[in-house]
């Protein structure tokens, strides 16, 4: 919301307040001033000059030398402009001027002739023809004859003003207006509000004889209309144009400018119809019918339907209500009679319509924020006052005012609140007198009797309903600085609560720290991805994870789907790192996948927390990754077995699924499928692992229960057996364990050997078996007998042959 300092002065005395001071105070009271724009920033040292004499430059054909009167003195200006003439009033920029297009003025010689400065074009002053005629010509701006030489141009053009760009929060629609902000300033500085001028002369007659207005939709709660005839359509006076220019609105003609002026000043959108185009001289506020069309002022034609509210005449829609006017009835050069509209439309309806057509106007923006039901009558009077003041037409007696609401016009609601509760919310002591002064200053008529705080907010303030609302009003005016040095104990009058972490976070943190200790770096990745991820990761057609939630309004294709797979992000990270020459990558991420049960989405998806790990490092292998997994899982109580992995994006021969006791696949790890590497432009092996941290967090905490250790030394025996390639270590270990007898302690594979001498598809597996007893040192015989049993069992079950080591 932009409002100007001079405009505010119409409603509040600002003689003792500088613009920056007001801006700071508004900000600290809840109206953040995002920008303070000095309209005269580039107009200092620019004056109105009268060209007294023009002579040819002695040395240059294209230049002329002008003697110029700038009030109490004469200056000499050399110019190449061709539209200047003796007697012309022009802008003259002198030493020190800093123009809107960046030119800085210094006296200088042109071919030996001194020029004290420069004549300016409209562009150099930052204005165009809409602001003042002649400002857009390719040449020097020639001022109207009534300008006075020697006047500062900023004064002559009424640009000695300052504009505040204010961020008005949605709870204060009343402040999307000059009067709203003026009321706030009055409250902040304890000043009196000057009421706007609302009086005007009429020419008799009765508005009802000219136009008939009906509201036929719930979405319009009030509609006020007035009739103006014998309109003289012309440019508005400079004072009015300068006000609109300052807040960024293009001046058009007096009638349209008045509607925009009232919009900014009163916060009430208005419309002016060309009366002769209103069929049947009727105005009907209704929902559009399917099949109706309207061509509007932005050049578009829209197909309407029942969701769109329109203003229609007897036959056709003439305005998309509150959003944009139709070309069929707008003010034009031939307009002589007009109906003014001031209405209140439902903010949701306007919002939906503006969204539907993608049209956002000053009017729709105001309506979306909410226009108070009391505003139209005041605003309409203000518009008529301006019509009268500007002499742009004759006003027929009377205003049509249709109300279609249970809300009472001009009625304020009295609320009774608990004063102690207000104080509790604030938590700091503010004197009762101060509280009353602040509230009454805001126009909230307030009284305190014991604990009862009675408030009557002004009818324009629909946001004050309870203790919290009143507390906010008090503290934002009193100043939040009071808390900057607040001392004391927090939760002094409240309960003690015990803090704790969600269990999964504790588990995740533990796993993260183990990974960090093993040289891994944590990454952070977007949980939105490209829909092509499921293809790049080779998911088969029937894979559940191909059901991906799509964002309806994505920012880009790459971030258009909600991920069902973790691997994509880490692979992109690896690909990126390799592309910038980074090597030896050990990365992990703790994140989520979002798996919908069905599409389109009817209920919220299952959000599953995962730990994903990726390694891209020369010399890295499956068993190093397996070690990482074991180190992670040993910290949990997960009881698991490994099976060959079914993950489509892993190398089927070098990967494993981690299966929990209940049969659930709780993770997988292994080398990546070579096609996947290609799909991600990665030219070296990558090892990947993933764990379901929700599942792990759901397990009971790992309990550490220890046993007695034997005081006798354990005995080790190494054996090496030759077996078929297809026999796995897991099978052999299991067999060794079961055949080793009661003194078995542990067994470890320490070598795998293959050679032609062993035979095709044969391998030698070497194990260290450890025996121990709690009763005494084991004898050679006991151990030999156990080892023999092991060897026999291996031979029987797997055809294993003892190999001499």
């Amino acid at each position: 919301m932009k409002v100007s300092y001079n405009w505010l002065k119409d409603f509040v005395d600002l003689s003792d307040l500088k613009p920056q001071e007001i801006a700071d105070r508004l900000t600290t009271s809840g109206f953040e001033v995002e920008d303070v724009i000095y309209l005269n920033k580039h107009l200092h040292d620019v004056y109105v000059g009268r060209i007294e004499k023009i002579e040819k430059h002695p040395e240059a054909d294209r230049l002329v030398v002008c003697q110029v009167n700038v009030g109490n003195r004469n200056v000499q200006i050399v110019t190449s402009a061709t539209n200047v003439f003796e007697g012309a009033l022009v802008p003259v920029s002198l030493d020190g001027a800093d123009l809107a297009n960046g030119i800085q003025i210094k006296p200088s010689k042109f071919r030996g002739v001194l020029s004290d400065g420069m004549f300016c074009s409209g562009e150099e002053l930052g204005i165009d023809d809409n602001y003042i005629e002649g400002a857009s010509v390719n040449g020097i701006l020639i001022f109207p004859k009534d300008f006075v030489a020697g006047t500062k141009v900023e004064d002559a053009l009424l640009l000695n003003d300052v504009v505040f760009d204010i961020n008005v929060t949605p709870n204060r629609p009343d402040c999307n207006s000059v009067v709203g902000i003026a009321h706030e300033i009055c409250a902040l500085y304890n000043k009196k509000f000057k009421e706007p001028e609302l009086s005007y002369k009429t020419c008799g007659g009765n508005v009802k004889d000219y136009v008939d207005i009906k509201i036929m939709t719930e979405n319009c709660s009030r509609y006020c209309g007035a009739y103006v005839k014998n309109i003289k359509l012309e440019r508005s006076p400079l004072w009015l144009r300068s006000r609109l220019f300052g807040v960024g609105i293009k001046p058009i003609n007096n009638m349209v400018d008045i509607t925009n002026y009232v919009l900014i000043e009163q916060g009430q959108p208005m419309h002016a119809f060309d009366y002769k185009y209103l069929d049947g001289h009727k105005i009907c506020v209704r929902q559009a019918k399917k099949g109706e069309k309207i061509a509007v002022l932005n050049g578009q034609t829209y197909n309407l339907d029942e969701d769109v509210m329109v203003i229609a005449d007897q036959n056709k829609p003439v305005v998309i209500a509150g959003v944009i006017g139709g070309v069929n009835s707008c003010i034009g050069a031939d307009t002589t009679e007009s109906v003014f509209e001031c209405a209140v439309f439902d903010l949701k309806s306007i919002r939906l319509t503006a969204k539907k057509f993608g049209v956002r106007t000053d009017s729709s923006a105001r309506y979306e924020k909410g226009v108070n039901i009391n505003t139209p009558s005041v605003a309409l009077k203000r518009a008529l006052n301006l019509v009268d003041k500007l002499g742009c037409g004759q006003i027929v007696d009377g205003i049509i005012d249709q109300v279609n609401s249970k809300q009472k016009i001009g009625a304020s609601e009295k609320i009774s609140l608990s004063y102690s509760k207000v104080l509790k919310i604030l938590g700091v002591s503010i004197a009762k007198e101060k509280v009353l002064q602040i509230l009454n200053g805001l126009g909230i008529e307030s009284q305190i009797n014991g604990d009862v705080l009675t408030c009557v907010p002004p009818y324009i303030r629909e946001d004050i309903k309870n203790e919290n609302d009143v507390a906010e009003e008090i503290i934002r005016i009193y100043g939040y600085d009071v808390y900057n040095n607040v001392e004391g104990t927090m939760f002094e009058n409240s309960s003690i609560t015990i803090g704790q972490y969600e269990p999964r976070l504790v588990v995740e943190n533990g796993l993260k720290n183990i990974l960090v200790d093993m040289g891994f770096y944590e990454t952070l990745n977007y949980s939105l991805y490209s829909p092509t991820a499921v293809d790049k990761l080779l998911l088969p057609e029937n894979d559940e994870r191909r059901k991906v939630i799509k964002i309806a309004n994505p920012i880009s294709e790459d971030l258009s789907s909600v991920r069902t797979l973790m691997a994509h992000a880490l692979l992109l990270d690896i690909s990126y790192n390799l592309s910038v020459g980074n090597k030896d990558l050990r990365l992990f991420e703790v994140g989520r996948v979002y798996q919908p049960k069905e599409l389109p989405l009817k209920e919220l998806p299952v959000e599953n927390n995962r730990l994903s790990i990726a390694v891209c490092e020369s010399g890295y292998d499956f068993f190093q990754l397996k070690n990482v997994i074991e180190n992670l899982l040993v910290s949990t109580s997960l009881d698991y077995t490994l099976e060959r992995s079914k993950e489509p994006y892993l190398h089927s021969g070098v990967s494993a699924d981690i299966i929990a006791k209940d049969g659930k696949v709780v993770g997988w790890f292994g080398k990546l499928h070579k096609q996947v590497l290609k799909n991600y432009d990665i030219n070296q092996d990558v090892y990947y692992a993933e764990l379901d941290t929700d599942y792990i967090a759901g397990l009971p905490e790992k309990k550490y229960e220890t046993k007695e250790v034997s005081k006798y030394q354990a005995v080790e025996r190494d054996i090496a057996v030759v077996v078929d390639e297809k026999i796995t270590n897991g099978e052999l270990i299991a067999a060794i364990k079961s055949a080793s007898g009661k003194h078995f302690y542990e067994v470890n594979l320490f070598d795998v050997y293959r050679s032609d001498a062993l035979g095709k598809d044969k391998k030698s597996m070497a194990y260290k078996i450890v025996f121990a007893s709690e009763e005494g040192t084991l004898t050679g015989d006991e151990i030999n007998s156990a080892v023999n049993k092991v060897l026999k069992s291996l031979e029987f079950r797997f055809g294993a042959k003892l190999r001499q080591i």
Partner: protein, 339 residues
């Protein structure tokens, strides 16, 4: 005989003194004290000594043996020590050579910040909970006093999935979920990801918030301010200053924004804080009684406060991260700086 013993003593000690290694020393021991050693032979020949002299000679011989044995063991210790020293000298390394073994990795700066933030809050009696990121319109907006088509919806560009389901645009959805599930009094914090249809040099479409909510009797702005003050002190140090501005959020009333000393420039003024020396860290406020009632909490009895800072910016300034894009780019050269 006595003379012979004295000679043995003198020669023996001299030889021990001169010996250069363990082998030599052992030869000396054999030469004097061995089975056929010089002193042994003398002791064996004691029977030939006149009985009246035996006592004296015997005593002398024993003292010579003791002296030699002491000399030998002392020298032995010296030589062994010298050998250890020599062996160790050979093992001397260049201590500036690189270490071996796996080098520690690092947590992401956001995790480090979050961990610290959570720790502070848990110590203050807050429980950490998390919830869904794909959320219904009800929890993300409606139950937070932002009905459909409310102008406050313009404050956030939301990613929608359907009319009713969206990517949460704020962690405040957890306020509602907590209020529905938990009985007051309670204190919770909810770190988590949020999504906005907004991406430029200073915004990321996915970023992180840290929601906090307290519901209890007698909770007001003072508790909120004291808590935030303490959090700022713990996160940014003793010298941090705070500044409070009024603001608006549909689910709190009064609503405030809290600025803290800009951690990039320590309040001197920089491009990040636009020269003000302060940067915005918290949106906060007293829970709107309408929100309490919608979630079934008696607003006459209970009140609360909530705050929900976006933490990405704080992570940036505390770690002097030059660009917000670094947070999600995962360049190992950046991550290694967090070790």
């Amino acid at each position: 005989m006595k003379q012979k013993l004295n000679e043995i003593l003198t020669n023996g000690l001299a030889e021990i003194e001169k010996s250069a290694d363990l082998k030599e020393l052992d030869e000396i021991r054999v030469k004097y004290l061995g089975k056929t050693g010089e002193l042994t032979q003398i002791l064996r020949g004691m029977k030939d000594v006149a009985p009246e002299d035996r006592r004296e000679v015997g005593s002398l011989a024993n003292s010579v043996r003791e002296s030699l044995e002491n000399g030998l063991s002392e020298k032995l210790a010296n030589l062994e020590n010298a050998k250890l020293m020599a062996d160790m000298e050979k093992e001397k390394v260049d201590i500036t050579e690189p270490s071996k073994g796996v080098k520690k990795g690092a947590l992401h700066p956001l995790t480090r910040f979050n961990n610290k933030f959570m720790e502070i809050c848990v110590e203050m009696g807050f429980s950490v909970i998390q919830g869904p990121e794909v959320e219904t319109d009800y929890y993300n907006f409606e139950a937070l006093n932002v009905p459909k088509n409310h102008p406050a919806r313009d404050m956030q560009d939301t990613f929608f999935i359907s009319d009713n389901i969206l990517m949460r645009s704020q962690t405040s959805n957890m306020q509602v979920r907590a209020m529905e599930k938990m009985k007051p009094p309670f204190k919770i914090v909810c770190p988590g990801r949020v999504y906005r249809n907004d991406s430029d040099s200073s915004h990321s479409p996915i970023f992180n918030q840290f929601e906090a909510l307290v519901i209890d009797e007698n909770i007001g702005l003072k508790d909120l301010m004291l808590m935030i003050k303490e959090i700022l002190r713990r996160l940014f140090g003793e010298n941090v200053k705070m500044r409070v501005r009024p603001s608006y959020f549909p689910f709190t009333e009064p609503s405030i924004e809290i600025d803290a000393t800009c951690q990039m420039c320590q309040g001197k003024g920089c491009s990040l804080c636009k020269g003000t020396g302060f940067s915005e860290v918290f949106g906060a406020g007293v829970v709107n009684p309408k929100v309490l009632e919608m979630s079934g909490i008696d607003s006459k009895k209970y009140s609360g406060f909530a705050f929900g800072p976006g933490i990405d910016r704080s992570v940036m300034v505390t770690n002097k991260i030059p660009n917000i894009k670094y947070l999600f780019r995962n360049d190992i050269r950046f991550l290694k700086q967090m070790r």
